[in-house]
Structure formats: structure tokens, C-alpha cells
């Protein structure tokens, strides 16, 4: 079920009413769990089976971890749980990639491989599996480190298996974040599990998150997709260099608006049910370094990768070379998490190498020193601008591996940029793309470190913040009603 569909609107209203009816107050968790199954299985019922399998595995393993007294016992259960999760993920998501890889490495016969791939290709796409697998692994690791992440200081004997099933099902299946996150942490989520009351709903947070989220998705992302479509293979070959570059920038904005929009809608819906989900985006395109970009983009995933992969691998504590390798390995796996094709791994390695080079050159330290020496506002602005152009170009180049799943096509895209320099501008594509990117550019500009100071002290000095926010939200809501593009699935659903 899509957040932007009419069915979802009706579904949420029904769930919301049942959830807050005083008569059902003690049944709030079961209502959300059943609702989540309906939400997840709406278009494909078998998905509910997959979700139940994941819930069963993680409920049993996490209960075993809670009730283990020895550390080694806890670790054993955690390892088994992680393996179970990875087997499910691997089977449903990476089987074709692995079969291909094994065939190439061990020279297995073609007919066998073809029939195996045929079987795997017919498996339905398990949307959201990557998200709730990471959520569950996080739960198991956190529990093996400290029972208190879900016990909140109470005695382990107070947690019955029945209550634990309910809480864990609720944590994994919570429908606002089930399909595309944000990836919650058990420690933040379990502590919020308690009866919720209608009067405590933070209406403004709900309203703001939903209005901005739907605007980003339906007005910006859904409209941009009609133009960025033209950088698909082979259409980009007939477009000039500048047109292709503008469309690539458009795609960078589209992918941000699509996913940040989804995350905000999820945050708004969760807030309406009385739960706080973690922030997932923080104006990523104002970043002046790649490491800053990853602190602002898909925050719940990048912090997950940091805490559960980068740190256990040794992080930056095992020497410089090992740090660079760790960065590349983590980013490559993070890339593969997005999809079962090698282009996602290339995208991850591309970012991993970027992060390693940034660290090797000490870019952040040097830039700070240079910035301190910059005397005037304009000097500082210019320096920031150069850094921004480098980071934004790097990130946008990376997105091509998302847009063009075929690796050869991605390379051909860059070759086309050098070939079609003299081709005419396609204004019919450029003008709408720029227009739909404009709100994102403006909103990012006001958060851009150098410009922020200028904006706050000169431009917006006499404009009351609250009034302007009311105006912006009101116009955004009106534009969502008037200017929404054709509804399409969320880009991150495929991950």
C-alpha cells in the first residue's frame, strides 16, 4: 500500500480511530500489528508470511538473549540470529547475484545456472526486507550488549514470552517505518511502548511532517521523474551535455525528495500514533565534505552501518590503512544493501573511496584551517562554494549508478557527456526540471553555513519565523492538492 494512495488514506483513518477509541486502549499494540500485516500484504499476501518468519525468528532469538546469563551464550544466540536474518535476506534478495557469482567463479554449467536463476527470478520482490532485517539485527546486537535496551530497568522475569512477542512484533512490523524506514533503534523504540492518549498527539509535528513529506514526494519527486526519465538508456544519447547535466541534478533532487518525503510521512504518521521515529535527512545537499554528507543523508542507515559494521570492524582504531579499508568495505556493503546488482556495489565503493581519500588528504582539517584564515564573508562564502560544488558533483555522479542499473549504460552516460557538447539545449526538459528543483535549492540555500548568517541577519531579519512557516506550509499543502505528479512507487521501495 502506497502512502500516497487513496486506500492508504482510508486505512489510516480507520486504524487511527480504532487506536484512540477508549474501548480499545488496551489493544493498541494488536491493532497496529494487525494493521501492519494488512498494510504489508495489501498487494501481495505472501509478504505477510515473510514478515511473520522474520518476526518469529527475532522474537525467539531475542528472548533467548534476554534470558541468557553468560556472555558467550548471549553472543551465540546473537550470531545465530544474525545468520538467520542474513540467510532470509540473501535467499530472497541476493540469490540471483550469488548464483551468477558462483557460476562465474567455479565455472558451473550454463543450463544448471539458467534453471536456478529462473527459479530465483520468479520469487516475488520482498519490499522492505532490507529495512526490517537491519532493524532486527540491530535489536539482537543491542540486546546482546545490554538487556536494558528493552527491559527499561525491570527484571527479566517480568517479561513474559507473550508480552515479548507482542512488543517485538510491534517493533518490527510498525507500519509507518516498515517498508522504507527510518531504521529505529530498540533502545529508542521500546521505551516509547505504552498506552497512548488522543490528547497527547503533537498535532503540529504531525501536520508539518505530513505536509512537507507529501509535498516533497508528490510535487517534487513525482513531477521530476517525468523529466529524469530521459536520462534512461538510450534516450540520454540524443540529449546535449548541458541538458544531461541538468537532468542529473534533477535526479539528485528527485531521489532526495522521494526518500526524504517518505521518511517525513513515516515520521508524521508515527507521531500521530504517539511514537517518535529518528530523523533521516538533514539538508544533505549543503554538505561541504563527504563525511558530512553521510551524517546528513539517510541518517538511520549510515549510523546503523557505523555502529554495527564500521565499529566492529575496528573503525579508525587499527591504523590508517585499516581505516581506509574499513570505510571502503562498509560502503560497498552499504551499496549492496540497496540492491542485488553490482552497480550498487560500485556506487558504494565509489563513496567508500571518496571517504578514504578525504581522510587521507585530511580535507576536513585543512579546510577548517583555511576557513579560519579567510577574512571576509565573501572569501569564506567562495571557499564553501568550491567545497560544495566538489561534494555535490561527486554525489550526483554517484547517483548515475542508481539511475542506470546497467553498468555499461552508466559509463556510456559519462561518455555521452563528452560527445554531445555541441548539441542544442532541450529547454522543454531543462525549464521544468529547474522549476521543480527550485524549492529544494532555496530550502538548502537557507541552511548553507555561509549563506545562513547572511540570510538571518539581512534577508529575513524583519520577517517573523512563525508567520512565514504558516505561509510556507499553507502554500505547500495547496500545491500538493493542485500540482501533484502522477503517483508512482517510492524509489527506495526497491531496496
Amino acid at each position: 500500500m502506497l502512502f500516497t494512495s487513496v486506500e492508504f488514506g482510508i486505512f489510516f483513518v480507520v486504524i487511527f480511530i480504532l487506536y484512540y477509541l477508549p474501548f480499545f486502549q488496551k489493544q493498541q499494540l494488536p491493532i497496529i500489528i494487525v494493521g501492519s500485516f494488512i498494510f504489508y500484504g495489501w498487494n501481495s499476501l505472501w509478504l505477510v508470511g515473510l514478515l511473520l518468519l522474520s518476526i518469529a525468528l527475532n522474537t525467539i532469538v531475542s528472548f533467548k538473549i534476554i534470558n541468557s546469563f553468560k556472555k558467550c551464550e548471549k553472543h551465540l544466540w546473537m550470531t545465530l540470529g544474525i545468520l538467520g536474518n542474513l540467510i532470509i535476506l540473501g535467499f530472497f534478495k541476493y540469490s540471483i547475484l550469488l548464483t551468477d557469482f558462483i557460476a562465474a567463479t567455479f565455472h558451473v554449467s550454463n543450463t544448471f545456472i539458467d534453471s536456478t536463476i529462473d527459479i530465483f527470478s520468479n520469487l516475488p520482490i520482498p519490499i522492505g526486507l532490507s529495512f526490517y532485517t537491519f532493524l532486527s539485527i540491530g535489536l539482537l546486537v543491542d540486546l546482546s550488549r545490554d538487556n536494558n535496551v528493552i527491559l527499561k530497568g525491570s527484571n527479566r522475569k517480568e517479561i513474559s514470552f507473550g508480552k515479548h512477542i507482542l512488543n517485538t512484533s510491534f517493533f518490527i512490523a510498525f507500519f509507518p517505518s516498515l517498508i522504507s524506514g527510518p531504521i529505529s533503534r530498540a533502545s529508542n523504540f521500546y521505551s516509547q511502548v505504552q498506552p497512548k492518549s488522543f490528547k497527547d498527539i503533537p498535532w503540529y509535528t504531525v501536520f508539518r511532517s505530513l505536509v512537507i513529506g507529501y509535498y516533497l514526494k508528490m510535487v517534487i519527486a513525482d513531477n521530476l521523474k517525468d523529466y529524469t526519465y530521459w536520462i534512461s538508456f538510450p534516450y540520454y544519447q540524443n540529449l546535449g551535455t548541458i541538458t544531461n547535466i541538468v537532468l542529473l541534478v534533477g535526479y539528485s533532487v528527485q531521489i532526495f525528495a522521494d526518500f526524504a518525503g517518505y521518511s517525513l510521512i513515516a515520521i508524521g504518521l508515527a507521531a500521530a500514533l504517539g511514537y517518535n521515529l529518528p530523523q533521516n535527512f538533514n539538508f544533505p545537499y549543503i554538505s561541504l565534505s563527504l563525511s558530512e554528507f553521510w551524517r546528513r543523508w539517510h541518517i538511520s542507515l549510515s549510523t546503523w552501518l557505523r555502529d554495527y559494521l564500521y565499529f566492529p570492524l575496528g573503525g579508525n582504531r587499527k591504523g590508517r590503512i585499516r581505516t581506509y579499508i574499513n570505510l571502503i568495505v562498509v560502503m560497498a556493503l552499504g551499496g549492496l544493501w540497496h540492491g542485488a546488482t553490482w552497480n550498487y556495489a560500485v556506487w558504494g565503493i565509489f563513496h567508500g573511496c571518496g571517504l578514504a581519500v578525504e581522510r587521507l588528504l585530511g580535507v576536513n582539517k585543512k579546510s577548517k584551517e583555511i576557513q579560519e584564515q579567510a577574512k571576509s564573508f565573501w572569501q569564506q562564502f567562495l571557499l564553501d562554494l568550491i567545497r560544495w560544488v566538489i561534494v555535490f558533483s561527486f554525489v550526483s555522479i554517484g547517483w548515475i549508478f542508481f539511475k542506470l542499473v546497467n553498468f555499461d549504460a552508466a559509463i556510456d552516460f559519462f561518455l555521452t557527456l563528452t560527445r554531445n557538447v555541441n548539441q542544442r539545449l532541450s529547454l522543454e526538459l531543462i525549464a521544468p526540471t529547474i522549476l521543480f528543483c527550485l524549492p529544494i535549492i532555496i530550502s538548502h540555500l537557507f541552511c548553507f553555513s555561509s549563506f545562513k548568517y547572511f540570510a538571518n541577519n539581512r534577508l529575513l531579519k524583519n520577517i517573523p519565523f512563525k508567520t512565514s512557516m504558516d505561509l510556507i506550509l499553507g502554500i505547500m499543502l495547496a500545491l500538493t492538492l493542485l500540482d501533484a505528479g502522477s503517483t508512482d512507487t517510492f524509489i527506495y521501495f526497491q531496496f
Partner: protein, 301 residues
């Protein structure tokens, strides 16, 4: 229920939104805001369909449905009696479905039938047009129609200004450039290469399936006393004579035989010129429309 501050924080932007919508609807109602023809192919298709569906006049005697080939026959060349529902990137099935689902039917329906039969009915386009809630809103509040989308109106305005400022060349001059362009030659060469191979079994099967669905749509429409006539639009002769094109024509003629389905007499044999191997250049499109209307008038009289 609500704390006062919480409530007012939500109500103020809601009031801004309502004020914006009222102003916008008002400016459309009083004619301050021009409509747009669509800033991309997808939008242009919807605008065309919405204009037909929400049209207040019940007297739309002739409707023509088809693909971008039909869409290329500009409405300005037709008499006011004809509504063109040619869908760029689509096929006759989409237009047929729109006619089938609209309550008031035309007297005569022309259906383009050719290789574009290989494209399915676009349900993503059709279903929202007939959704009870959205169609109610679009019928009574035109601001919700595609033609009045703020960005489309703005871009169309900018485009018109740009064209006026730069005094765009006449169609004739542009056409000469198009006909002699390398792009056209490359496209025709590619089309001839791609279409000089025989149809695969899967493609044949797909055509059969689509033909069945078209027959069902036509049968439904004919129940309401609509005269349905099939036709094909001529293209670049060298492309029309490729193996695949000839094969598709033969299959379509056998699936829609003349003794059961009415076909429009073929246009006189002449060297039609296209801009890309598929779509007629505008001067030829105009000439073809002239011939088409003559044939229609003969049939109607």
C-alpha cells in the same frame, strides 16, 4: 481535546491553504489564468482526456482514438466536430476505454489500428480519470484539472513569451530542416533495420490478446449505437514496407475482417513524408486530415 496553542498552529496554515485555493479557483473562473496544453507528453494526454470527459457539451459527434500518429494530426486541422484522443506513447486501447467509460457517446468513432496495438491499455492514465472522488472535484473545480496545474501554467506562459521574443521560424522553414536532418535519416535507417525481421511468436500472441480486448471494447461501444470505423495512418513508405510492418497489417486485416468490421478506405498512394520515420511532417498531416475529413463526410452522408 486539543491544547489551544497546538490547535492554532495547525489552523493558521490550513487557512492559508484555503485562501490560496479560493484565489486560484477565482482567477480561473474569471479567466485571469490561461490553461496549459501540457508541458510533457504524459500531461498532454491527460489534458486531452479530461477535456473530453468533463466537456459540458454533449454534442461531440466524431471521436478519433489512436497513438501518437493520431495525436500528430493537430486538432486545428480538423473541423470542430472532431475530438482527437490520440495518445502519445500510447495506443487506441486507451482512447477506446475512455470513450467506453464516458456516459455520452459520439455518433462516429474512428479507431487507429497498426503496430501500436502492441502497447497495452494505460490503466494508470484511465483509472484516476474516472475515480468518483477526483472526477467529482475536477468536474466542479477546474483548478484540480491538469490544464490548470500551477507549474504547467507558468512554464507554458514562459514558453510563449520566449517564442514571441525570439520570433520562432515558420513551420515551413522548420519542416525543410527536419526533412533534411541527419536525425531523420538515422531514425529511418534504424527503423528499417529493426522492422525488417519477422514477428516472434510471443509478439504475435500479444497482438492476438490485444486484438481480443479491442474487439470487446468496440462491441461494448457499439451497443450504444456508435458507428465504429477502423483506419491506419500512412507513414514513411520505406518503413511501411518492412517485413514486420507488412506482417502486422496482414494479421490485423485477418483479425478485423472487412465483412465484420468497417474499415476506412485507404488513402491514395503517394509518397508521404515523416519527421522521424513514423510521424507525418505537419504539412503532410494537414493534407491527410483534409482527406480523412472528406472520407468521413462521404460516409456520414
Amino acid at each position: 481535546m486539543f491544547s489551544n496553542s497546538n490547535l492554532s498552529l495547525v489552523i493558521r496554515p490550513l487557512l492559508v491553504c484555503i485562501a490560496f485555493l479560493v484565489l486560484y479557483q477565482g482567477s480561473i473562473f474569471y479567466g485571469f489564468l490561461p490553461s496549459s496544453e501540457g508541458i510533457n507528453q504524459w500531461q498532454a494526454n491527460i489534458i486531452k482526456a479530461e477535456k473530453y470527459i468533463y466537456s459540458e457539451t454533449s454534442n461531440l459527434p466524431i471521436v478519433i482514438v489512436g497513438s501518437s500518429l493520431t495525436n500528430n494530426l493537430s486538432t486545428k486541422y480538423f473541423s470542430s466536430q472532431v475530438t482527437n484522443l490520440g495518445m502519445s506513447g500510447g495506443s487506441a486501447q486507451t482512447g477506446l476505454e475512455i470513450v467506453r467509460r464516458k456516459r455520452i457517446k459520439p455518433r462516429l468513432l474512428l479507431v487507429e489500428l497498426n503496430d501500436t496495438i502492441g502497447r497495452k491499455l494505460d490503466n494508470k492514465l484511465v483509472n484516476p480519470l474516472f475515480h468518483p472522488l477526483t472526477s467529482f472535484l475536477k468536474l466542479h473545480f477546474p483548478m484540480f484539472r491538469q490544464e490548470y496545474r500551477p507549474t504547467s501554467v507558468l512554464i507554458q506562459y514562459l514558453e510563449n513569451e520566449y517564442k514571441q521574443k525570439n520570433k520562432m521560424n515558420s513551420v515551413r522553414q522548420d519542416e525543410k530542416q527536419v526533412v533534411n536532418s541527419d536525425f531523420r535519416k538515422k531514425m529511418i535507417k534504424q527503423l528499417v533495420e529493426n522492422r525488417n525481421i519477422e514477428l516472434g511468436t510471443q509478439q504475435k500472441q500479444f497482438i492476438l490478446e490485444q486484438a481480443e480486448s479491442i474487439k470487446a471494447q468496440i462491441a461494448d461501444i457499439q451497443k450504444e449505437a456508435v458507428r465504429v470505423i477502423l483506419f491506419d495512418i500512412p507513414g514513411e513508405p520505406v518503413v511501411d514496407n518492412t517485413v514486420k510492418q507488412r506482417q502486422i497489417r496482414e494479421i490485423l486485416r485477418s483479425l478485423f475482417p472487412k465483412n465484420t468490421f468497417e474499415w476506412l478506405p485507404e488513402s491514395p498512394n503517394r509518397q508521404w513524408v515523416t519527421s522521424d520515420g513514423i510521424h507525418l511532417v505537419q504539412s503532410n498531416a494537414k493534407e491527410y486530415v483534409f482527406q480523412l475529413e472528406k472520407l468521413i463526410n462521404t460516409l456520414l452522408n
